[in-house]
Subunit: 243 residues, 2 copies
Amino acid sequence: MISLTTHPTQTSRYGRGMQSRTPAVRPGRPRSAAADTAILAATRAALVELGWSKLTLGDVAARAGVAKTTLYRRWSGKNELVVDAVAELFDELELPDRGSLTADIEGVILQFAAILARPEAKSGLMAVVAESTRDDALRERIRASIVERQKLLVLEGRARAQQRGELPGESDPEAAARTADLIFDVIAGAVVHRALVSAEPVDTDWARAFTGLLLNGLTASTGHPPPSSHQTSFPRRTGAPRE
Amino acid sequence: MISLTTHPTQTSRYGRGMQSRTPAVRPGRPRSAAADTAILAATRAALVELGWSKLTLGDVAARAGVAKTTLYRRWSGKNELVVDAVAELFDELELPDRGSLTADIEGVILQFAAILARPEAKSGLMAVVAESTRDDALRERIRASIVERQKLLVLEGRARAQQRGELPGESDPEAAARTADLIFDVIAGAVVHRALVSAEPVDTDWARAFTGLLLNGLTASTGHPPPSSHQTSFPRRTGAPRE
DNA sequence: TCGCTTTCGCTACGAGTCGTAGCGTAATGC
DNA sequence: GCATTACGCTACGACTCGTAGCGAAAGCGA
């Protein structure tokens, strides 16, 4: 929660975390931080009720109890506003140590899917990504506030797996970075495609099958689902399997 | 090429290939098939120049040399029009036999990426997918005219690989279908994510690395260096197609 | 308490888009 | 000829956009 009416906001216009070194205190009336949270919440509510295309800034302003001009003073348009509103949904994304690489991957898949299942994320995220194909500044905003945090989970999970001895250490740092980018695109892309394009649920069964594919590959585990135990061809799972 | 002015179009409004058994010939003046192709081409041109958000139906009509009302008589709105316009881009998608599963996968990845690299596909496809999260009819239209054709390639590639002995035959048809859906989401999702979210090129290097991951899994081949160096605690089922 | 500065709420505005209605005309089949 | 449908064109109300201008409010320092 942001402290209320104490310090100026100035995170919204300049893009989450950018925190460009502007003078800490400016003369004049400070911007209401409460208005920021109200606007972003109103934006998500409007996304749920109306979806991206029918969402208007006038409507958002009315929901937030704020003048339309105030909205335009803080965000340059619909795209930037929705990015910030959706980005807050990803604050809950984290990677608790579940004891094994398999469990960690399954966990992050399900967490990511849980966010994507929310209607305000569905309709908002894809729309701004679509817009970002013609707007470099918007893409950078998305990358900094949403994508980068997801990628960090991949790096964290790999480091943890290497520490456990489940994955070999990396000799070439450049190749390691490429591999991490690849893994990230595969995981995030597959989950998004399953949830939004195929429009089928990302449940534990799917997450388990996907994780098996990711670790063992096609040639090993095609069409041999676990007989009755929910264990794949993997020999061991160290951590306690979340009851 | 569609034959010109001979038979009524009636594919556009009812969705590519649906071909509902309407009376083959209706009384009155038939719809101009030439207008259809002109409108769809104009839509793609407008997507390139303006992008999704700034594309207006009035502009498309003007480009196509057609009255705006004609456009509304054939398509119910922007979404449906763009789906049909983008769907034609996927007509070139096919799966020539490249001799091995590895080569087939790499080939389809690069083909798919080549389509996604075109600006009219970039900005249009993601936008309609975003809209489809709140419009079941639109999602079905996308599925029938775009997604299903991609999925067929996966099935074809697997059948070919099984015939070569590169993949085991499927005993349970239901599990086989689930696996095919999984593979499809992984491939299509990863390519889309790489191209649109990460905004980095899908070149042969990336396609090769991705294919390697897909076939062998993470535990085997992370990175280019010799696979013999570090071995994990996991048993490796390699190479030979287990019957 | 008084200025100074910036934000806020409000109203109003021109510009642009939307989707539809109405009309006369063109193209097909009977 | 007839009936039926598609087409081009014009016009329209409704809506959204993004901005401008204004007076009031909320901070800070003297």
